[in-house]
């Protein structure tokens, strides 16, 4: 099956994957730094550039746009070639997308610490960078859909639907959410205000989650999970249901971020109901992927890449069960604005996105560089357990911290007066924030082991090693 690199454009894929690995480390190290600052405030160093308020958007942008988007661009450009049995639609375009996107990230790295921000979560970058993002994104869309259009097989493979939806929906929501009126090169004001702005903002915020961190990663997994388990996708029909379920319902659910706020109640209720509905297609898709892995039980017992994928799916199940729960008024009353939400975010971000990415890296990187075997199986095993311990500590610590503070904020005496001050709740959760820091550090330590292992794998001078056999 070795078809050689001359048949496909592999080099740009490699670049994207390297960028994704680099940003995963950088973005998550910043995450660990944030976690440390919330326990040891001296780590803000009285520096305007790295104090928590400016560092936090750099973390979210770094992991979402650096790590995840680089990963999705790289894998999508590979998968669209392989499943269409054709080269990229235009090679120079692919390099423009690559360098354009790295420029966006570089500008983010410079402007966010300087305090240029729109404040909109996951869309903090100021308008000139937004224009650049828009341009690169359109080029990426042309490249991706252009390649689908020139495919040599009749059928469009499942992964490409999900990548396609990711590209299209992100375009829609990005443009509307970022509409702003410039004051200067570095300052603008959103054209929407107050309650209206919040609705638009969370329509984006939730769909960035739904289409970047969910649909895109699902697309990637629909290709790599069958590859790794050496079995076809369990049910084609289920993947169709999964697809339209996500595209159809996700875009409605954003207002579950605004429950009990001052936006109209019917708007909140749509968000709540759609969140509950979302549980179904989410678990249907998870079932489909889990069954694909389970069809090869023998390999699942011993192969850590399979186990990473399986863990990712289990964490996806957890996050998509917890999510609808959090949308229910009673739960949201307690959880909103607390550490519980951060815990939910990271069970999904580390458990689902992180573990999927790790599995993909371990499978794909050796093959991109023409290797069959990992340098060390012991180290991948160690990484597996570090990752699990890290996420478990992260999630458990923030359940305790979040539910605890949520309860303390609301607790009232018989006569109606409040039981706890804000500072009491803050002091209560402090040790748990330390546990979260420790969990996060374990997770990043695991990643560093992965980088070492993969570096050794790629630089091993064994086997066929013709640069980039595309035998993946």
């Amino acid at each position: 099956m070795s078809s050689g690199m001359d048949k496909y454009d592999i080099k740009v894929v490699k670049y994207f994957i390297i960028a994704a690995v680099a940003w995963s480390i950088a973005g998550m190290l910043i995450g660990v730094m944030l976690a440390a600052q919330l326990y040891w405030p001296v780590l803000n160093f009285d520096s305007e550039y790295i104090q928590f308020g400016r560092l936090r958007p750099l973390h979210t942008s770094g992991v979402i746009f650096g790590f995840v988007v680089n990963m999705l661009m790289g894998t999508s450009l590979y998968i669209v070639q392989r499943t269409g049995q054709t080269r990229l639609f235009n090679k120079s375009l692919s390099w423009m997308v690559f360098w354009g996107w790295q420029l966006v990230l570089l500008l983010a790295l410079i402007t966010l610490p300087l305090g240029y921000t729109s404040t909109k979560e996951y869309a903090e970058l100021e308008w000139p960078i937004d224009l650049l993002i828009g341009l690169v994104w359109v080029l990426y869309a042309i490249l991706f859909f252009g390649t689908i259009a020139k495919r040599k097989v009749h059928h469009i493979f499942v992964s490409n639907w999900f990548y396609g939806a990711f590209i299209i929906v992100v375009t829609l929501i990005f443009v509307i959410n970022n509409l702003a009126m410039p004051v200067s090169l570095t300052k603008s004001y959103s054209v929407f205000s107050g309650a209206q702005d919040a609705i638009v903002q969370w329509w984006w915020g939730h769909n960035a989650v739904g289409f970047l961190l969910t649909a895109g990663v699902i697309g990637m997994n629909y290709y790599f999970i069958p590859k790794v388990s050496e079995r076809p996708i369990y049910s084609y029909r289920l993947s169709v249901i999964h697809f339209w379920g996500l595209v159809g319902f996700y875009t409605w659910a954003g207002t579950h971020h605004l429950v009990y706020s001052s936006v109209p109640v019917w708007v909140q209720n749509i968000g709540i109901v759609m969140s509950l509905i979302l549980w179904l297609p989410s678990w249907a898709g998870a079932f489909n992927s889990a069954m694909t892995l389970l069809q090869n039980k023998e390999k699942l017992k011993t192969d850590y890449i399979m186990l990473f994928f399986m863990s990712a799916i289990l964490y996806y199940c957890l996050a998509t069960l917890e999510g609808p729960l959090l949308a229910i008024r009673w739960f949201n009353m307690i959880a909103h604005n607390t550490e519980w939400i951060i815990g939910h975010v990271h069970s999904a971000a580390l458990g689902w996105v992180g573990m999927s990415a790790i599995a993909m890296f371990y499978y794909f990187i050796p093959r991109l560089w023409g290797k069959e075997q990992l340098w060390s199986n012991k180290l991948i095993k160690l990484h597996f357990w570090l990752a699990h311990i890290g996420i478990a500590l992260y999630a458990i610590a923030l359940w305790v911290a979040g539910i605890g503070e949520g309860y303390m904020w609301l607790a009232q005496q018989e006569n109606g007066s409040l039981v706890y001050s804000f500072v009491e709740a803050m002091d209560f959760k402090a040790p748990w924030l330390f546990v979260r820091f420790f969990g996060g550090a374990c997770f990043v330590f695991g990643l560093l082991i992965m980088v070492f292992n993969l570096y050794k794998t790629v630089s091993m001078n064994s086997s066929v090693s013709k640069e980039g056999s595309a035998d993946a």
């Binding site: 928590f52 200067s184 107050g194 702005d197 604005n337």
Partner: protein, 204 residues
């Protein structure tokens, strides 16, 4: 071409995804964006003064909103803790909204008259001076960096285009009010203004 489905035609894939994903824009987004006049009609909000506006931009630029919310939900203990619950009309001049999503620190919607300016100064210079276990960063540089006021007029003009009723007279005088003030003092003016415009509306 239309005899195919989305698994066979890239054109149909693109169009059907756009159509299905756009329903929510029509039902959820557009109806709320066209209600501006209705929302304004119920509003008690007053535009910020130039100095408060400059302070708000310091608040944004330092990222105070990543730890502080400005949205009191209409739940009894929450109102007890943070003051009057937000109403839809309160934030008509908030371009963009600063509701936030995480309460690492307390809600600031109604912080306006809770503390003296001196308390705010000490707290911003080093929060642990007043709250020993505080995990809020210290912001000492705010009191050494001075605003030039050069951009305040264009900011107000942009906001006026967006619907904040600044008069030409106010805009003309803005620069002199802002020039030479430290970022910290401007920020404190902004903090002290929070919740004042709605303070008269306390029925619950």
């Amino acid at each position: 071409m239309l005899s195919k489905d989305f698994t066979q035609s890239v054109f149909i894939l693109i169009i059907s995804t756009i159509v299905v994903a756009s329903f929510s824009i029509l039902v959820l987004i557009v109806p709320n964006l066209v209600r501006t006049d209705e929302i304004i009609a119920t509003s008690l909000a007053k535009p910020l003064t130039p100095l408060e506006l400059a302070g708000r931009d310091v608040y944004i630029s330092e990222g105070c909103h990543v730890c502080h919310t400005q949205m009191v939900r209409g739940i009894e203990p929450e109102v007890k803790r943070n003051g009057r619950a937000n109403k839809e009309g309160d934030d008509i001049y908030e371009f963009p909204n600063l509701w936030g999503s995480k309460r690492t620190g307390p809600d600031l919607t109604n912080i306006g008259r809770k503390y003296s300016e001196q308390w705010q100064r000490i707290h911003l210079m080093n929060p642990r001076k007043v709250v020993p276990t505080s995990i809020m960063p210290a912001y000492p540089w705010l009191f050494t960096q001075v605003l030039s006021g050069d951009d305040i007029e264009s900011k107000m003009r942009v906001l006026r285009k967006l619907g904040v009723p600044y008069t030409e007279n106010e805009i003309d005088k803005a620069r002199l009010q802002v020039k030479g003030v430290t970022k910290g003092e401007a920020l404190i003016q902004y903090l002290q203004s929070l919740g004042n415009d709605t303070a008269s509306d306390q029925e619950h």
